[in-house]
Structures are given as structure tokens and as C-alpha cells.
Symmetry: C2
Subunit: 320 residues, 2 copies
């Protein structure tokens, strides 16, 4: 079936057609491009929520509960993209997460898609914006992106959402670590999950301190101080308050005009990702060329360093 027809079916609520579109986006190539061409002009109205945090922090359960809370408030259905870091090592644990999330999501209007990161992280940076766009274009609002916060790419993906939630747990660490890690920059809302455990109020205080230390408000710009919410995702306590804050942040974004800046940032991030993809292909083609193989041979015989070889291989492009 041609891509435009699949797209029409998906817009009319056909879940299998939507799954098909997301698969095309993940695979990339000509059909993936076609999905982007069709969905880009009509996307852009959904609220994109990013959620990130350490493995085991309860992200999937929170995502599931948040989707349920959002669903009660929304007639358009909730889209969820869960990044499954099918890492060589942690693959199994994540599979467990997925099952946990499915347990708490049972509304008809929610569409959950797991995306694998196996392969290049570059691929992930390209596939996720495409998946957001599709869910947005077929009418899901909000779209929640859950990523595990263990890699720069994953944090960037969550960080380019309209509203980014960072989940921590008691005993998670002190302000120095978090500050060093740049979480201040991406978090619009902090969640201390497993709030019933000892150390929860310490975690909260550390975050408050960190926000105080990091606060350098520009008087010419509207500021938003990330609220810190306490949740126990397993029994759902604190989730309604979390959803209220997501809504409040969305209003703030719209009223201040910050939403536009976020969207521009996300577009720039995606366009650069596509530029890198195209240039990557160009680089590999050159490396496989006669000249590339000759240069590699010089590297291997230790006549030329890899840096010098790369510069020579691209000399004509770098001059332009």
C-alpha cells in the first residue's frame, strides 16, 4: 500500500497503520523520507513531553501513569515513545520495564511504541523526531518520550522536548554530581520517585540547593524554576500533581513565547542530525574509494597518522 494511503488509515485511527508508519520511520530510507514529507506540514500542535532518569528510577511506571492521567484530560489520545536501549548488557532489564509499563496503560486511546537503540545512536537521534512527528500528525496529544538517561544522545532527546521531566530517586546522589552532569539545563520538572523511601527529603533538598546555585536569571528573559515533585509511581501518588505541573509548564511556554524557541531548537537538532547522516555516507564512500584505501594503507604502515589521512581525504571539501 502506498505511504499516503497508510497515512490516511492511521489518521482515521487504524493502529496497525500507525505502527507501520513508525516502522518506516525507524528504517529510514526513501519510505521513511516519504512519511516525513507527509507528516511534517500538518504536525506541530502536540505537546511533546520528555522523561529521563537513571535505570531503575521507575521511569516506565511514571510514564504509564502519566499517560493515564493525560488521557483523562485529553480527547486526542496519548502517544508514548519509549527508547529501549537494547544495550549489549542491560537489554534484559529494559524488557522488564516494558512489561511494567504495559500493565499500567490500559486505555484504548494510548499508543505505546518501543524503539530500539541498537545500531548507531545517530540512528536514534533521527528516528525519534520522526516518530514524534508522526504521532503528532495523526492526532496524538501529548506525545511522551521516555529515555534512559545514561548517554548524551538519550539526554539530548529528552532535553529537546517542550517539557522535560527528570526522575531521580532517594540516595541518587548529591548536587555536585547532578550539576556536573548538566541536568539543571534540561530539567523543567524534577520528580523524586520512591518518595516513601528514606532519603527522599534529602534528595529534594539537594535538588533545591542545586537549583539555587544554578539560578542566574536573565532579567530580560522569562524564567521558570523547575518544581520538584514527590511521587510513588507504584501506587500512583503524586502523579496528578505531576500532570498539573506539565500542563502549567505548557501554559508558561505558550504565554512567554518560549515554545517557539524550543521548537526551533528541536528543528535545528533534527536538521543537523540529517546533515550528519548525509555527510557520514559521503565519508564512508570516500573512505572506500581508491584514494581512501591508499591513505588507510599509509596509516597502517605508520607513514601517516589517521588525522592527517582524514584531512588529506577531505582536502577538496574542506577548502570549499
Amino acid at each position: 500500500m502506498p505511504v499516503p494511503d497508510v497515512f490516511e488509515l492511521a489518521r482515521n485511527g487504524e493502529r496497525r497503520a500507525l505502527g507501520r508508519l513508525l516502522t518506516l520511520v525507524e528504517r529510514g530510507g526513501v519510505n521513511g523520507d516519504k512519511v516525513a514529507e507527509i507528516s511534517h506540514p500538518i504536525a506541530g500542535s502536540s505537546h511533546v513531553v520528555g522523561l529521563t532518569g537513571a535505570p531503575g528510577a521507575g521511569k516506565s511506571t511514571i510514564t504509564g501513569r502519566l499517560a493515564a492521567a493525560a488521557g483523562l484530560a485529553s480527547e486526542s489520545g496519548v502517544g508514548v515513545v519509549a527508547i529501549d536501549p537494547s544495550s549489549p548488557i542491560t537489554g534484559g532489564a529494559i524488557l522488564g520495564d516494558r512489561i511494567r509499563m504495559d500493565e499500567v496503560i490500559d486505555r484504548e486511546g494510548t499508543f505505546v511504541r518501543s524503539m530500539a537503540t541498537r545500531g548507531s545512536s545517530g540512528g536514534l537521534a533521527l528516528a525519534v523526531p520522526g516518530a514524534i512527528r508522526v504521532l503528532d500528525a495523526v492526532g496524538y496529544d501529548p506525545v511522551i518520550i521516555e529515555t534512559v538517561g545514561v548517554g548524551q544522545v538519550e539526554v539530548d532527546i529528552a532535553g529537546t522536548a517542550d517539557t522535560t521531566i527528570v526522575v531521580v530517586t532517594p540516595g541518587w546522589g548529591d548536587a555536585v554530581q547532578a550539576n556536573k552532569a548538566g541536568l539543571l539545563e534540561v530539567a523543567d520538572i524534577f520528580v523524586v520517585n520512591k518518595a516513601e523511601r528514606p532519603g527522599a527529603s534529602d534528595a529534594r533538598r539537594d535538588l533545591e540547593l542545586m537549583l539555587d546555585l544554578g539560578a542566574h536569571p536573565d532579567p530580560n528573559k522569562p524564567t521558570w524554576r523547575a518544581p520538584i515533585l514527590m511521587t510513588t509511581a507504584t501506587d500512583g501518588s503524586g502523579i496528578d500533581e505531576l500532570w498539573d505541573q506539565v500542563v502549567a509548564h505548557r501554559s508558561w511556554l505558550t504565554e512567554t513565547g518560549e515554545l517557539l524557541g524550543r521548537r526551533q531548537n528541536r528543528d535545528r537538532f533534527e536538521m543537523l542530525g540529517r546533515v550528519d547522516e548525509l555527510l557520514g555516507g559521503l565519508g564512508r564512500k570516500r573512505a572506500e574509494s581508491e584514494q581512501g584505501l591508499a591513505l588507510l594503507a599509509d596509516v597502517q604502515s605508520r607513514k601517516l597518522s589517521p588525522t592527517a589521512a582524514a584531512a588529506e581525504l577531505l582536502a577538496d571539501l574542506l577548502e570549499s
Copy 2:
């Protein structure tokens, strides 16, 4: 002090000078290139050992003990590069690891360097081969690279070593997960650490099964079946046997000529990394150009998809 002088000092055993060189390599730029130019021609004789596995598997303790065992057998000193994934979230835990490793390394001849991954993972893929080259050129042999196996880049780095050790623990998961993750392809030696715990023999059996399933020996190529070793790194048991297997694998590589192939693969990997770095700079420059900003504006007004905009921005390069 000019880079060649620092290099001379490092070759004469000045540890601070060596630290300086590694910092230059990490920072990149002109001085980093200079270090590569000087060290590349004289590097290439050290045995590079990669070690990877899940967080908490005991990698750092094994690395420390392995360095001690290697040091007893080597007059040239042991270099260790430990990749510290100062991830937004796991930074604290890793700091703990570093301390544990320092406890078990006390020989004068061992040089340990932690490298941060904060920033781009591309930066890591460039800095690590550079660090290996420096340690190799100033005379450390073997050079052990420890990476946490949670990202593709980290696994690739460990996987491009001469000998790659994959550490698992009891209860780590089944053969399906590991197979899916492609560990079969990178492991030359498996270690089941915490072998005193329940489930250790199950883990071993799963790995054996996995190796049986994955074995498709090419009759025209020499084959190496990854041995599976049981260790308890905390008390050092099994470490001598592990070191013996590393030495055996090294001999196998040399005798079969496979070492050359591994080295070529590593050179190619590094050269491609440098090509990507240069092209990435080119892409960012273009994106910031007048044309790039105009195309981005079209993306933002939803006239053009990011993919189409990227293709247009690079049209002249892609034709060539």
C-alpha cells in the same frame, strides 16, 4: 614546553609528562594532532586489551587485578585507560569504581588514566585510540581499556582491541539477550565474575550454549573459541588464569596473522572517526551559513521537512 620535549620526558618515564600528553589528546585540536604525529610512527607493538561489561559487574576490580598480574609478567609497565561515563545519572557510581580500582593497583609501573565521556561520544571514539597510541609509544605494554558496556560506542571501543574481555555476572541474563546484543562478535574471552554467587554455573552454561549456537566456523579461517573463566575479583581468584588466557589469545593472534586484521580494523575505525569529525565541522558551518538558516526557517514554517532541507544544503557535495 613544546610537544616533542614533553614526549621525550614521557618516554624517559616522567609520569607527569605522560599525563600532559594524554590531556592534549583528550582536548584534541592542533596539539592533540601533534601528539598523534609524534606517537603514531613508533607505536604499534603493545598488546591492547579491551574489557567491557555491565555497570556493577566488577570491571574495575578485574582491571586492577589484571594490571597487577600483567605487571608481574612485564618489564614495560601496564597502561590502563578507564572510560568514565560521567553520565548525567551514573556519574557518582562510577566515581566509586575509580576508587576501587586505585586500591588494587599499587605497582609503580602501572599508569592509570580515567577519561570522561561527557560531551560527544564521537569525542570518546577519537580520544581513546589516541590515548592507546601514546601509552604504546612511550612503552607501556599491555594497554588495558576498560569501558562500561552500556552504549554502542563503548562496546565498539572495547571491541576494537586486540583481545576483548566481556565480563558478566550470575543472573545476568540468558543467551537470547546476549546474542541479540552482539556480544558473541566482540568477546574473545568471557569472564563470569562473582563466581561464588548462586547462578554462576547457569551463567556459564548459558554462555557455552550461546557460543555453540553462534559457532559457524569458516573452514578457511583460523577460529578461536572464547574461553569462559570464573573469577571472584574481590579476592583475586581466577585472575591468573584470566591473564594466561589473554597471553594465549595474543599468541594465537600473532601465529594466525589475525593480529594484522585487528589492527587494520582499528586504524579504519579511527580514520573514519576523524573523517566524521571533519565532516561534522563542515556540516555545522554550512548549517550556520545564510543558506542554512534560510532552510531552517523553511523547516520551522513547515514548508520543508528536515530531511529535504539537509539534502538541499549539501546538494553540491552529494553530487561530487
